[in-house]
């Protein structure tokens, strides 16, 4: 059995690596893309040894949007599934004061991921098959004082994925939006996260793998986050603006 290759954009992140392992365990060759991809040599060996699949490493700078077409051309094969895990939490206070910091957050979470996902979508559409997975965030569901720069970029990405899904629904291409909630990763290390609301990277990967197989559209990794965000979205703005959550 030869399974379709799976492309992981943001292969250095904990969620990206967990996804690579999960798909490799099901026999998929893996294409890991990240900045300074050579640093992933040990992870490549690890995935190959554990799962007996081929892993290729690919250089990708999510801010270098002009390089995306060449990047896709350089892949050994157009993947069956592409997962975009790229993101940057950024520093809200810094982004409020410094346009450059805010721009970096916008570009890393929205511009780059959306343009690259869109380019892959076009190739999947042309082929008539493929699965696009975008890791967005519950932070994009409603802007909050504590992280609205990051949140608004993720909101943009969520809307972009939703539009892609609408466009490609009849073209044989699945688009899955993933809203992980809190995840125990390098990005959140040192934060005091509530255990019941926090997923492990492997849990995110397992849920995504299952949702891809089931042809799902939107995935809340921990279902409790769907309930939380439904309530948060329902709070009237005149009350919401006075809250600190």
């Amino acid at each position: 059995m030869t399974a379709d290759p799976v492309l992981v954009l943001g292969g250095k992140s904990d969620i990206g690596l967990a996804l690579a392992h999960r798909f490799a365990a099901a026999g998929h060759p893996i294409q890991l893309a990240a900045r300074d991809a050579a640093a992933l040599a040990a992870d490549k060996a690890d995935i190959e040894l554990r799962h007996g699949v081929t892993v290729t490493l690919h250089e990708l700078d999510i801010l270098a949007t002009e390089s995306f077409a060449a990047f896709l051309d350089s892949l050994p094969a157009l993947p069956g599934t592409a997962v975009c895990v790229v993101g940057l939490l950024g520093d809200q206070a810094k982004s409020e004061a410094d346009a450059e910091a805010a721009t970096l957050t916008f570009r890393s979470n929205f511009e780059g991921p959306a343009l690259l996902t869109g380019l892959i979508a076009n190739r999947f559409e042309q082929r008539g098959s493929g699965t696009l997975v975008g890791i967005s965030s519950v932070a994009g569901e409603r802007g909050r004082a504590s992280n609205y720069v990051y949140g608004s970029a993720k909101a943009g990405y969520t809307a972009f994925l939703s539009g892609l899904r609408n466009r490609l629904a009849k073209k044989g291409v699945q688009v899955l939006t993933v809203l992980p909630g809190f995840v125990a990763t390098r990005m959140t290390a040192g934060m005091d996260l509530p255990a019941k609301l926090t997923a492990q990277p492997a849990e995110v990967a397992g849920a995504v793998f299952k949702a891809v197989g089931a042809g799902r559209n939107v995935l809340y990794v921990k279902p409790v986050w769907w309930a939380i965000m439904t309530i948060i979205r329902a709070i009237p703005e005149r009350i919401f603006k006075g809250m600190s959550i």
């Binding site: 040990a42 992870d43 060996a45 040894l49 554990r50 007996g52 390098r186």
Partner: protein, 440 residues
């Protein structure tokens, strides 16, 4: 955070770091007294240090494998279970395995673990080709029998006190199937049990479950379980098609701490009597899957909770061959007289192959016992210590949680040599609660 070993005694509030890179790890070690921690399967306080416990679980990649020689290179935080998952389907199995697969490779080296094949193949360290060790100066040294041989030998069984083990290169053994040919032999008393071990010295795997509440003529009543890897020809045709596909066991968890006193003399006596009869009935040859054979307790997640909230104490000693018979009889008589039944009591013949500088095994017999923590049991263990010392035996540091520094010195003449090496290597930066208690 509150952590403990597998015995859940003692529990300590420790600062635990989980570095993801060698650079992070080096920074942590520079902060002073540090001890590496694997998957927390050592029973006592060997992998905890209130100021600076360094979890190795995030440094867990497999790095290289040579299919001609079976040499596998892994980072220290890789679990033995992961190695089996990845390599048994390709016809490879660990050369030595302890009684749980949920140990890290770094921990296996640090404790120089032994398995049911110790009498024939020795301990795990014998299969280690080289190690990368982060030493007290922050330098990474690749140690082997050729390069830095003293540090290499002291790290095998050195309980993490020579440095932090980063990477382990070790040899897997070839197997033809995931099945074990098991033969169970009943032994109505200690002499029979020991004779059976000696008679079957050429069988790869052997271990005895021993009923340590049986006294009088039945003292040492046990069931000896012999095993060897089944070759393809041993398998019925249905299994020969896929010799590595064994049934996946369902993991059940112990959901809460058992009430204190559940495991008392009465219940353990009843269990042991029934278990002995069951083993005797199963006598003869059977095919058993690798998971059930090597890791019967792994199917019961958090089984340590059946000993109640206060935790469990494990007592494991090794007695030299010459004094083993007398020492074992005295130990079993003391336990039987105390009425403090051990639910899991295991007797095993150890071989004479050399291990690390400070490794536990010696040519003779080892006895391992579990008890729920109580004042009576702690007092019993003091008596058992004295019996072991009187017969020239020693204790397994991976199981210890309460021994005194004086007892260790009385049992092990190698202490000064180990201390001297630690000093020469500037390894004072590595210290666990256990090493502080034992003044190592």
């Amino acid at each position: 955070m509150m952590i403990s070993g597998w015995g859940r005694y003692p529990r300590q509030d420790c600062v635990v770091h989980s570095p993801r890179s060698e650079a992070d790890l080096r920074g942590l070690v520079e902060r002073g007294p540090a001890i590496a921690r694997g998957n927390g399967r050592g029973y006592g306080d060997c992998a905890q240090q209130p100021a600076n416990t360094v979890s190795m679980l995030k440094l867990n990649r497999m790095l290289a494998f040579d299919a001609d020689t079976g040499l596998l290179v892994v980072e220290a935080g890789v679990l033995l279970a992961e190695v089996i998952d990845a390599f048994l389907p390709r016809g490879w199995f660990p050369p030595v395995t302890p009684g749980t697969k949920f140990v890290t490779l770094g921990g296996m080296v640090a404790a120089d673990v032994h398995g049911k094949n110790h009498h024939r193949d020795g301990s795990f360290g014998r299969f280690v080709a080289w190690l990368d060790l982060l030493d007290g100066t922050g330098e990474v040294r690749r140690c082997s029998a050729q390069s830095d041989p003293e540090l290499f030998a002291a790290t095998i069984g050195g309980m993490g006190l020579t440095g932090v083990i980063l990477r382990v290169a070790f040899h897997l053994q070839r197997v033809e199937s995931g099945w074990i040919r098991q033969t169970t032999l009943p032994a109505p008393d200690l002499d029979t049990a020991m004779r059976l071990f000696e008679d079957h010295a050429d069988v790869p795997y052997s271990v005895a479950w021993i009923d340590c509440l049986a006294g009088g003529r039945s003292l040492g009543r046990s069931a000896i379980m012999l095993g060897e890897h089944a070759v393809a020809a041993d398998l019925p045709e249905a299994l020969r098609m896929a010799p590595f596909r064994t049934p996946r066991r369902k993991l059940r968890n112990v959901p809460f701490d058992a009430p204190a006193g559940l495991l008392n003399g009465l219940t353990v006596r009843a269990f042991n009597a029934v278990y002995y009869r069951r083993q005797v009935m199963k006598r003869g040859l059977q095919l058993v899957d690798w998971d059930s054979y090597f890791y019967p307790l792994d199917a019961l997640g958090q089984w340590n909770r059946i000993y109640g909230g206060r935790g469990l104490l494990q007592f494991q000693c090794a007695l030299p061959l010459a004094s083993a018979r007398a020492g074992l009889a005295e130990l079993l008589a003391a336990i039987s007289a105390s009425g403090q039944g051990s639910f899991l009591a295991v007797l095993k013949r150890l071989g004479g192959l050399p291990g690390g500088t400070f490794s536990f095994p010696l040519d003779g017999y080892t006895l391992a016992l579990d008890f729920p923590v109580s004042a009576k049991v702690l007092a019993l263990m003091e008596r058992l210590d004295a019996i072991v010392l009187a017969h020239g035996g020693r204790f397994y540091l991976a199981k210890d949680s309460r021994m005194s520094a004086a007892t260790l010195r009385a049992s092990d003449r190698r202490v000064p040599q180990f201390l001297a090496l630690r000093q020469a290597e500037g390894a004072a930066a590595f210290a666990s609660s256990q090493s502080e208690r034992l003044e190592l």
